[in-house]
Symmetry: D2
Subunit: 294 residues, 4 copies
Amino acid sequence: MPLTLSALNEASDSEFVAALGAIFEHAPWVAEAAAQRRPFASVEALFAAMRAAVEAADEAHRLALLTGHPELAGRAARAGRIAADSVAEQASAGLDRLSDAEYARFEAMNARYRETFRIPFILCVKRHGRASLLRNFEKRLASSPEIERRAAEVEVMRIAAIRLNALVEGEGSLKTTGRISTHVLDTTRGKPAAGVELELHEIISPTETMLIAKAVTNSDGRTDAPLIGGRPVPIATYELRFALGDHYRRLGLDLPEPPFLDVVPLRFGVSDPEGHFHVPLVATPWSYQTYRGS
Amino acid sequence: MPLTLSALNEASDSEFVAALGAIFEHAPWVAEAAAQRRPFASVEALFAAMRAAVEAADEAHRLALLTGHPELAGRAARAGRIAADSVAEQASAGLDRLSDAEYARFEAMNARYRETFRIPFILCVKRHGRASLLRNFEKRLASSPEIERRAAEVEVMRIAAIRLNALVEGEGSLKTTGRISTHVLDTTRGKPAAGVELELHEIISPTETMLIAKAVTNSDGRTDAPLIGGRPVPIATYELRFALGDHYRRLGLDLPEPPFLDVVPLRFGVSDPEGHFHVPLVATPWSYQTYRGS
Amino acid sequence: MPLTLSALNEASDSEFVAALGAIFEHAPWVAEAAAQRRPFASVEALFAAMRAAVEAADEAHRLALLTGHPELAGRAARAGRIAADSVAEQASAGLDRLSDAEYARFEAMNARYRETFRIPFILCVKRHGRASLLRNFEKRLASSPEIERRAAEVEVMRIAAIRLNALVEGEGSLKTTGRISTHVLDTTRGKPAAGVELELHEIISPTETMLIAKAVTNSDGRTDAPLIGGRPVPIATYELRFALGDHYRRLGLDLPEPPFLDVVPLRFGVSDPEGHFHVPLVATPWSYQTYRGS
Amino acid sequence: MPLTLSALNEASDSEFVAALGAIFEHAPWVAEAAAQRRPFASVEALFAAMRAAVEAADEAHRLALLTGHPELAGRAARAGRIAADSVAEQASAGLDRLSDAEYARFEAMNARYRETFRIPFILCVKRHGRASLLRNFEKRLASSPEIERRAAEVEVMRIAAIRLNALVEGEGSLKTTGRISTHVLDTTRGKPAAGVELELHEIISPTETMLIAKAVTNSDGRTDAPLIGGRPVPIATYELRFALGDHYRRLGLDLPEPPFLDVVPLRFGVSDPEGHFHVPLVATPWSYQTYRGS
């Protein structure tokens, strides 16, 4: 049950801190400071107050905000000593299902990073697919302390913003969500293609994909809900797969065996987790096209 | 070194039969009969004479033409007791690289077919990918003796036609070849896309593909040679993969990471081994389309 | 100022008839009958009551409903003896701006129709462009009295529905409107094309077009309002013209002179006045496409 | 009857000059000089010799080459005092069919140009449509004597090259021709669209077009000959018009009236007279696209 902004505005200080104390991991003092600035007209204003509390804090507190953060796929996570939100976030990127070799690789990178920069490696994992996460980790290992200190603070803010948005309902939400959507048009008939089965997969590696969503197009050729929506779209490569051959067979067309087009894959990359990726399919049994739409 | 038609026209009878005796497996009498009809003005006329010899033969000879044919992936093949052409043909469909389980499956189907129809299962394997071959086998097992007798003769003629075409050079070739070709157009610049790396894969199963050809587009956006040409295109599902992202990076475009389009897959089915499947890619960094061209 | 349904429900009988008496031309008795069925929950229910009143009327009244209707571009119209709505409707089809020859042609067709069928030629002109109107007139002149009697009644109902919808605001509007809309996508950048000037023309004849609407695309590549909306789309051929060359020049692209694409015309026909015709332009400086979208 | 290069190589000097003396207007001395350099292995080599003769000439001769050139739509042309080739060239641009007002405009521009630069305005008219010709004239009137002297010599060479190519047949032709071609693909059936009637028009002004070519697509969806070929493509805006609605009606499709797509116009600009402009139409009854192909 989401909290409402007005309930937070009217709560006691301790209720407020109980509700929002975990937005910044192991740092309830951020919520305590924000509580004094009430009332808030929007979720954005609430978040701005929390950010201001962080920026006004002394170096020891600011550093603790980083050092208190759990490592990705680290020992604390394995041992169950991290916050509930962190557990869910790491699971969303599959970090709770690593093989022993993968786990060892993360251990080594975490150790190298901590040794080099004196803070844990912090990344808002909800914004990254597996390959992007590793690419990012490699790149940041080669960075400088100043840049990493700033990068870690940016990521902590991103994590906090997503948590806050998920928790509090109200006017003026933060922009923490992106979208993948599609639309299937049948240009042999000049109409939306209804009833087309489709799947969205994330491309994990050249030989491994992960099913993210399944849907069937409605009478307008769209899916009732976005394929990804209400959350950041992890930076990754995706593939939409449309059962176009089945669609035309249902319409009674006499297709060859195998048909020229049967399952149509559209492969595309997402680089902006807060962007809208509209990827339509305009098709006949013998042609198709796609483009980044809007 | 291919034979020329004129050399065959001038050869002695025994030379002629030595050259063409294996076109119909274990049936040099077909070449013997055709030798008497020389000279031939075209490869087509030569083949017509061989076909006429078969059609004029008595039932015993016609039946022997079928029973003498090796089974697919059968014992004779394994034991090396089949004609050189058959060895190569079966290898082209991967029948020389079966697992023990697959081999056992073929054994069982071959046995069931021979028991039911009193002839071996004959299929021109050069016209089929693995899935099509199995689909065909299953379907023909459920057929009738009359239909199978005719089907076997049709396939024997197809096999012979491909062998003859490969062996004899001359005017009036038989139509035994199909083609897969492509063309890459870059509509951000209104020009052919040169230097694009691409691969053609055959889709063996949902998890297995086989690389058929690699190429790089020339200055006209085409490949110097067709991706498949000079032979039948096996009935199968294929995927063309274009390194479009690399192309635009080479042109100096500032693409996001990952780019919206990087490796573009075009998946299509071939149902007609003697057809021309022209599958172009008309693209920008943010859109593409394909169609069956000509 | 539109009437509200609730105001009509509460009005006196004479106020009600004063408001709706002209929905059916020269036939206030239809409104009088409907007034007794109040209250109405929707505009649709109100219209159903008016239609029921017509259907319950005796032959003399029903015939009068047709004979009382003004001819298209007829003498009554010229002499200013027709209802205000009829004046506006005929003007929308350009019937108030006919040349003498065209006027004479209508006169002749009107006379022939009235002589043949004993009723005036009735057509809901808001649903037809000039060519469609004439094509329809010719076709109906060759029809039979029974068919024409029914056709005239259908058209009277269409005219009344449009008038009623324009007059009364409320829940449950009648479906009397169609739409032409567009969307411009720039696939060199994977974004909507903003600031593109465009025009919608009706094709009157091979040498004559009429400007219907001008617009500029907004940041989403769409026009702020549909190019035609809130009324039926006259059955006609249209042409959208996009200043695509100007768009790319503004973006700083180095185009040849003349550019490959400058003003892009999309020509399309509308056969269904109540339909939605979405006609997008997906373009680069060297390519474009359109389709009937949704 | 075209001359062959070998006939020219073997001709007497006077025959050679008789044949090629008019390639450079009123300047047979160019051919005389080239005659001494025979034999020529290619048309290109012959032209290079003529160009070298011009470049080796003294200033008086080089200037005479320009001053001897007839003006566009000038008095000499009207009075029939220009070379046969010039007559045909000017007619190809419609300069023999000017209205009196247009003629007067050319007179005025010619006079202004000659007064400013002391040479006649020279332009290879076969490379320009009407609008381009006038745009060019205006622009060059504002130029400098040095630039105009060079521009005039470039144009004289272009004129000579086209004349030479038209006259002499042989290996190694000069690149003086461009091409407009098309290809119609029907993606409802995955096949070339055969039997489609089409027209190529040049856009003269917003209200005036000129029919350049009519054709019907063959079984490969192409026209038997390019729509413009074997000559430069005049710099201009063109419109291809395809009778797509008729095509689908012939195939028995049940289209609305009017159909969504009936006559499809593709409007495009040609900026490079020696370029190949391939403008395909990939269509269904409800969609189409085009691009600059190759």
